[in-house]
């Protein structure tokens, strides 16, 4: 007696993973043969796993089949290759050399744990084949919970036309392609949640982000970039943040202090709170928000929107202590000592001086201070003529604010040209639209007072010289071009720098009072103290600050857990399309102009501080979102969401389809079947009339594993009147199938009895020619179905039409000879069996003869023998069979194959 199984050194290929293929493979493997099973879809199980119950015992199909599927997965003699099919076969002596095409799964099956996190996040919604299109699935999916292999698959059908440069351009890698797809599909809440999953301040970014994504949007190369920011705002506005649940998190015992409640501090606090740490923010101002609260004017970012976002962060458990200025109300060291880690996000709130004469005059005001005063509701007298000095966003904000405060003439003085302006171009455009003049290539020389108050400003014209360190051309004064203008107020907006005096004894500072950090880890020179945002980089954008806060949160959390810091790499550079690609895409998709977001009329909006941008309506949002190139394709758009979520690291977009060659000694094919598509039978109204469906669709509708969980619902209601029609596409010369499909009589009886069982007061009719209840227990089942009150009518309906309260079936009862009109809610067509579509392809490469209908031709005494020696067919491949017959024929095919390969042992 041997300890190891006596192997038969023979290999058999089984093509098809339905019940036939499964049985054949298990039988052969049970004899010690090495079996390779190819299944074209992502899971084995075939048609049977789609069934709710099987006749005549009405036991559950899943329960009986799934143990067999598991057996296939566990059997050491079976190698299961899903998403694969043979594409070429060569005879090799008695055996075969088979070329196999393996479609890439894009998921590493060794790593995937079938946890489902990926499909929860996937933004691409598709019809579920398993549920016959009645339900939905995602582009990354497991077709049903019992799938074997129980691993996710990415349904990637074509390459994404663009490079999704938007995602790479975003400092926090927002899944732009993903949320645009969701908006396109009308799934606004999902879009919001997707945005929210990486961005703690989406409402802010939907309004004031400088949208680097739009700058690089590949669509921009075709016609115009997508309105990404405005679409984000649309998604945000369509969701009420109060309904956003507070996730349950496991609390740690670690405490983190954050200095500054600006965007970086809030983002950092948000992410740390989600990790379970206790977070306290110290804010010098009376209200949190930093520059968002005190610098950005109301007409761009309503305070209410900001407050809602901050409230949510508070609801996560973050404590914000306002009016606590570090260095004034509390010392930095006190904080450092009483917390486990500190994040400094104090921003850059100190204005930069011009260093010219008269700067200290009343009437010359720092821009940031000006905005803060306005935002705090303080009253400011500007006078009629206001000059704003600077070309950044702050300067624009100051100018537009001044206009709204009632100044008659507002001018912007900028020392370079429009091209060099750091302000967002749409802001500049809005400014110009509102009638504000920009004096380019001009710089003030001195402010002139009269009676101690500002009266005039002397300026000088500039020209552009050599580029400076920032890459912009340096402006050079044109001697003798001085001139003066009358002004009531001058607002200087020349940039800001951090106020970091309180740190100078503890932490190394850099140029312009910025905080020095290790760029890879985010930590300052003091252990446990991290910093980010404008305080580190000098003045920059909101989204950069958020990114810095988020990155810091990751490493703070790692630091608290004692894990080594994560070293951030520089972002992937956004890619543009080549010219060739651009012209190809133009040809393929045409061009479509951008739909601009609605704004308030200029004459109206300058009167007050109400929000300028009105936003999209639903239709325009969908229309604009559907311009996204990534949404042009079916299937996976490679947005990276699943990859980001998968903690096991199983997603791999780089996988490639493979073609391999393998040797086999015998082949069993179990190609399965297709079902007749009754659309061509116009009189039955399939696809035309609502309420007409096929048997397999009804099967999914009634299945406990189906989209309704087993409740039979139609239009949200429980239908009461059912009409089943047998022999649709069987025994019918017109449809080219003279044969009997052998299963429809019984599955109809099964459906009818399920209906009677679940809906007690249902009326059920079945139209038939002959009731072929020939199998074991079938006749009895047919009888009991009749006894349950199902009405059998001999004769096939001539027509189905729409009635007042449902569908009207016109049928001649051949037994009574009467012409009946029956009104019902649902008509279910027992569609017949057709040869599997790909059988032709298979027959071609395997040189198999087919019969007149396209089933594989076999010899009745050797029911699995095909015209090619060594290739055996089973199940519906050679003609209609019910499950027991399929199992028997699979056993027979396996035994014939066994005989074939054993012959020379």
């Amino acid at each position: 007696m041997q300890g190891e199984q006596r192997e038969i050194e023979k290999r058999v290929l089984v093509v098809g993973g339905g019940i036939g293929g499964i049985t054949a493979a298990l039988e052969l493997a049970g004899c010690g043969v090495k079996v390779t099973m190819l299944e074209e879809t992502s899971s084995i199980g075939g048609r049977m796993i789609q069934l709710d119950k099987t006749f005549p015992t009405l036991d559950c199909s899943t329960c009986t089949l799934s143990p067999k599927m598991v057996e296939v997965a566990l059997n050491k003699n079976i190698e299961l290759i899903s998403l694969a099919k043979p594409i070429g076969i060569k005879k090799n002596g008695k055996g075969f050399k088979v070329t196999i095409f393996k479609k890439a799964r894009f998921v590493d099956v060794k790593k995937c744990t079938a946890c489902g996190t990926c499909f929860a996040g996937c933004p691409v919604v598709m019809k579920s084949e398993f549920n016959m299109g009645i339900g939905e699935r995602k582009a990354i999916y497991i077709p049903f919970p019992q799938a074997i292999p129980n691993k996710a698959t990415i349904d990637k059908r074509e390459e994404r036309p663009c490079h999704a440069a938007c995602i790479d351009a975003c400092p926090i890698n927002t899944n732009v392609a993903g949320y645009l797809r969701l908006i396109r599909d009308g799934r606004f809440k999902d879009a919001y949640l997707l945005i929210r999953s990486t961005n703690p301040l989406p409402s802010v970014c939907g309004r004031v982000c400088y949208a680097p994504c739009e700058g690089v949007c590949n669509r921009g190369q075709l016609d115009a970039p997508l309105a990404i920011r405005d679409l984000k705002r649309f998604a945000v506005d369509s969701f009420n943040i109060d309904e956003l649940p507070i996730p349950q998190v496991q609390k740690t015992d670690k405490k983190v202090a954050i200095i500054g409640a600006g965007p970086s501090g809030l983002a950092c606090a948000h992410d740390l709170a989600l990790e379970g740490h206790s977070v306290t923010i110290f804010e010098a101002q009376p209200e949190p928000g930093g520059m968002l609260r005190y610098a950005i004017p109301e007409y761009r970012l309503p305070k209410d929107e900001l407050r809602k976002e901050i409230d949510y962060i508070k609801r996560l458990g973050v404590e914000i202590k306002c009016n606590k200025e570090v260095g004034r109300d509390i010392t930095f060291l006190d904080i450092k000592n009483s917390f486990d880690a500190v994040f400094i996000g104090v921003g850059a709130r100190k204005g930069v001086n011009l260093n010219i004469d008269g700067e200290d005059l009343k009437g010359v005001i720092d821009g940031i201070r000006f905005l803060r005063m306005v935002n705090m509701g303080e009253k400011i007298e500007l006078g009629n003529v206001v000059a704003v000095i600077g070309g950044g966003n702050t300067a624009i904000d100051c100018a537009r604010t001044a206009l709204r405060l009632g100044s008659k003439e507002v001018k912007v003085i900028y020392r370079r040209t429009q091209a060099e302006m750091p302000a967002a171009h749409e802001e500049v455009e809005a400014l110009i639209k509102e009638g504000i003049v920009i004096e380019f290539l001009t710089t003030p020389k001195r402010f002139i007072s009269e009676n101690g108050a500002l009266k005039k400003m002397e300026c000088i014209r500039m020209e552009l010289g050599e580029p400076d360190s920032s890459g912009r051309r340096r402006p050079v004064e044109i001697p003798g071009s001085e001139f003066t203008i009358d002004v009531d107020t001058v607002i200087t907006a020349l940039g800001q720098r951090p106020e970091t005096d309180f740190l100078k004894d503890s932490i190394n500072l850099g140029k312009d009072s910025t905080i020095k950090i290790d760029t890879k880890t985010g930590m300052t020179s003091l252990e446990g103290v991290f910093a980010g945002g404008d305080a580190v980089t000098g003045p920059a954008y909101v989204i950069d600050a958020i990114a810095a806060g988020k990155k810091a949160a990751i490493n703070i959390s790692r630091y608290l857990k004692g894990e080594p810091p994560y070293e951030f790499e520089t972002c992937k550079a956004p890619k543009s399309l080549t010219e060739k690609e651009v012209s190809q895409l133009k040809e393929k998709y045409g061009t479509a102009s951008r739909i601009y977001v609605k704004e308030k009329d200029v004459s109206q909006r300058i009167k007050d501080f109400s929000e300028v941008v009105i936003g999209y309506d639903r239709d325009n949002a969908i229309l604009e979102a559907s311009r996204c190139l990534a949404s042009m394709i079916e299937g996976c758009i490679e947005c990276g969401e699943c990859k980001r979520r998968c903690e096991a690291g199983a997603v791999d977009y780089q996988m490639k389809d493979e073609v391999v060659e393998m040797d086999f000694d015998g082949i069993v094919i179990a190609p399965g079947f297709d079902l007749y598509d009754p659309t061509e039978k116009k009189e039955l109204g399939y696809k035309r009339l609502k309420g007409v469906m096929t048997g397999i669709e009804f099967e999914r509708l009634s299945s406990v594993t189906g989209p309704t969980g087993g409740e039979i619902l139609f239009n949200g209601k429980v239908p009461k009147r059912f009409y089943f029609i047998q022999c649709v596409g069987s025994r019918d010369r017109q449809t080219g199938a003279r044969y009997c499909s052998r299963v429809c009589c019984m599955y109809t009886a099964k459906h009818a009895s399920i209906v009677k069982d679940r809906i007690k007061d249902a009326t059920v009719y079945i139209s038939y020619i002959d009731v072929r209840a020939y199998g074991k227990g079938y006749e009895e089942f047919y009888k009991s179905t009749q006894e349950a009150g199902v009405k059998y009518i001999r004769g096939i309906p001539g027509e189905i039409v729409e009635g007042k309260n449902g569908l009207i079936v016109r049928v001649e009862d051949m037994l009574s000879g009467e012409l009946n009109e029956v009104e019902v809610d649902l008509v279910i067509l027992a569609t017949g069996v057709r040869p599997k579509a790909h059988i032709k392809e298979l027959a071609e490469i395997m040189s198999l003869a087919l019969d007149e209908y396209g089933f594989v031709k076999v010899d009745p005494v050797n029911p699995s023998k095909t015209s090619t020696d060594g290739i055996f067919v089973c199940g519906m491949g050679s003609g209609p069979k019910d499950i027991p017959d399929t199992v028997a024929s699979a056993g027979e095919a396996a035994s014939a194959c066994m005989e074939y390969i054993k012959a020379d042992l």
Binding site: K776, L815, P863, S895
Partner: protein, 557 residues
């Protein structure tokens, strides 16, 4: 006990709603627990390494893994224990994902639940005993009962595969009913010819012993080692076989059971089977009027045969065709309930015979009245709704299949069950049509219900393959999760024996206790629950295991 507890985070899946760190801290303090570790992915390679190292360094003798549901991961962890040098049955898997972290939202409650679940696993595991997958040798020989096409094909296949085959046939000649057929549809070849080919091939094989006129009188043992007594005339012979294919076929329905059919009383009333002997014997004119009656002995509650015999519609069509061919001017009318021409090509065959002029009338015959001149048939045409009365010269009864009465005795001998119609009962009507509840005994062909020749061949070969797969190994592993009798505890009350579904329990008359035939035990544990003193218990599910599992779930720890 030195237990190691390994708690999986499953990424976020468990960690998200279960405080895994608290759990590992808690279990570190439980007596008997040597190691308690929580880890991101216990199933990953580094995770497995942690377990392996812990077993080796801390000399663990119990491993409790709290992770996903035990049915996932197959033998992964069992193999790991084996590799680490301890008995793989010292493993306990606890599901804290499907049964805990995924089904509750509250971290506190989930953590408490996980704690209880792991605790109960630990308590249970503390009682574990090492188990072994025992090997039993298997005789590479098979008994095939019945020499019809099913049995012949089973015997042929097994013999070709090198299995010693004993083919036992009750009748004098092999070939069963197919041998009697003039032509076998759809191949249209003669049954005698088809059978002869098979028998010739069988005779050429050296490893087949054929016993005709033989019955089975005794049958004992278990898979791999069945002792069978064959009886031919007065001679008895004992053989040992590894497994059995039962292919006892069917008996044709005898219409004389229904006197109203006048069968055997009037020569003009014959069965389809009678006509297979040839149409020459018929004493009818050149222009006969023939009635063919369907469903004789099928779909008939009055005689307790509610089932459809599956083959008789095609037989009726075939008979009509043969008559039409021989008597082209004949008038043939077939009376049916439903025409079940479901086999491949059947529908086309049905149409072609209709085209040849055979009439099909829906409606069963109510009365057959033989007169001197003719046979009058009365009935109602359910399609036309008319009552008819017609005269015929010949009435052909398309008879169905009945189960042989001998099935009952054979079933008792082999301990396999019959269905309500006296056919053998398959283990699962859909997926295990050849299996019986007894390991190593398969059923094939019409003995499990009516089948045509093609289906019977399918069955014969397929069931033989299943048996071959089991025999070919040369040994069988006895699942370790089988019942075990404590001889000191057993009172010999035989309650377990009576209840046992697999009939795997035998009573030892001498010791007055029961013993388990390990190869036959299915491992359901019914005996264990039946025995009041748990003298018989199911390995892997001992009372102590489950009892302490209950305690673990409920105790306030």
């Amino acid at each position: 006990m030195k237990a190691g507890i390994f708690i999986c985070h499953c990424g976020h899946n468990i960690k998200h709603t279960v405080d895994v760190r608290r759990l590992s801290e808690y279990f570190k303090k439980i007596p008997g627990v040597e190691v308690a570790i929580d880890y991101a992915f216990v199933c990953s390679e580094p995770g497995q390494d942690i377990i392996k190292e812990s077993i080796e360094n801390k000399h663990l003798d119990r491993v409790v893994i709290a992770s996903c549901t035990p049915s996932l991961h197959g033998d992964l962890f069992k193999d790991l224990l084996k590799k680490s040098g301890i008995n793989p049955f010292y493993l306990r898997r606890v599901s804290i994902r499907e049964h805990c972290s995924w089904v509750g939202d509250d971290i506190e409650a989930n953590t408490e639940k996980a704690k209880r679940l792991i605790l109960s696993g630990l308590y249970s595991a503390s009682h574990y005993i090492p188990l072994e997958e025992k090997m039993v040798e298997v005789n590479k020989s098979a008994l095939v009962i019945g020499g019809g096409v099913s049995g012949l094909n089973a015997a042929l296949f097994l013999a070709k595969m090198g299995i010693k085959v004993y083919l036992v046939e009750r009748e004098e000649e092999l070939g069963g009913h197919v041998r009697l057929l003039n032509s076998v549809w759809p191949s249209k070849r003669s049954g005698r010819e088809i059978v002869a080919e098979m028998v010739d091939e069988l005779n050429r094989l050296a490893n087949v012993d054929i016993y005709t006129n033989t019955t089975i009188t005794n049958f004992e043992g278990f898979f791999g080692n069945y002792q069978v007594t064959l009886k031919k005339g007065e001679d008895e012979k004992k053989i040992i076989v590894g497994g059995v294919v039962v292919a006892t076929g069917f008996v044709p329905f005898d219409p004389s059971i229904k006197p109203e059919l006048h069968y055997n009383k009037d020569k003009r009333i014959v069965t389809t089977l009678d006509l297979e002997k040839g149409l020459e014997t018929l004493e009818i004119s050149k222009k006969p009027r023939v009635a063919i009656l369907h469903c004789i002995g099928s779909r008939d509650e009055t005689i307790g045969k509610s089932y459809c015999s599956r083959i008789c519609c095609i037989n009726a069509i075939k008979t009509a065709e043969a008559l039409k061919e021989k008597y082209p001017e004949s008038y043939i009318e077939s009376f049916y309930m439903d025409v079940r021409a479901h086999p491949k090509g059947g529908e086309e065959y049905f149409e072609s015979v209709q085209e040849k002029g055979v009439l099909f009338t829906r409606g069963n015959v109510a009365e057959i009245i033989p007169t001197d001149k003719s046979i009058i048939i009365r009935g109602e045409d359910t399609l036309l709704g008319e009552v008819y009365e017609k005269e015929f010269d010949l009435v052909v009864l398309s008879i169905g299949m009945s189960s042989p009465v001998e099935n009952k005795a054979l079933g008792q001998l082999l301990k396999i069950s019959l269905d309500k119609d006296g056919f053998f009962l398959e283990a699962h009507i859909k997926l295990r049509p050849f299996d019986t509840a007894v390991k190593g005994i398969f059923i094939a062909g019409s003995c499990s219900g009516p089948k045509d020749a093609e289906e019977s061949i399918n069955h014969g070969k397929a069931s033989a393959l299943k048996l071959f797969g089991m025999l070919n190994l040369g040994y069988t592993f006895v699942d370790p999760f089988i019942s075990y009798v404590d001889p000191k505890r057993c009172s010999g009350c035989r309650q377990c024996e009576e209840a046992c579904i697999a009939k795997a329990i035998k009573f030892d008359e001498k010791l007055r206790i029961v013993k388990v035939e390990e190869a036959a035990c299915m491992g359901c544990g019914l005996c264990n629950a039946t025995c009041p003193s748990s003298a018989i218990s199911l390995k892997g599910y001992f009372d102590s295991y489950i009892s302490d599992e209950i305690s673990g779930l409920l105790e306030i720890a």
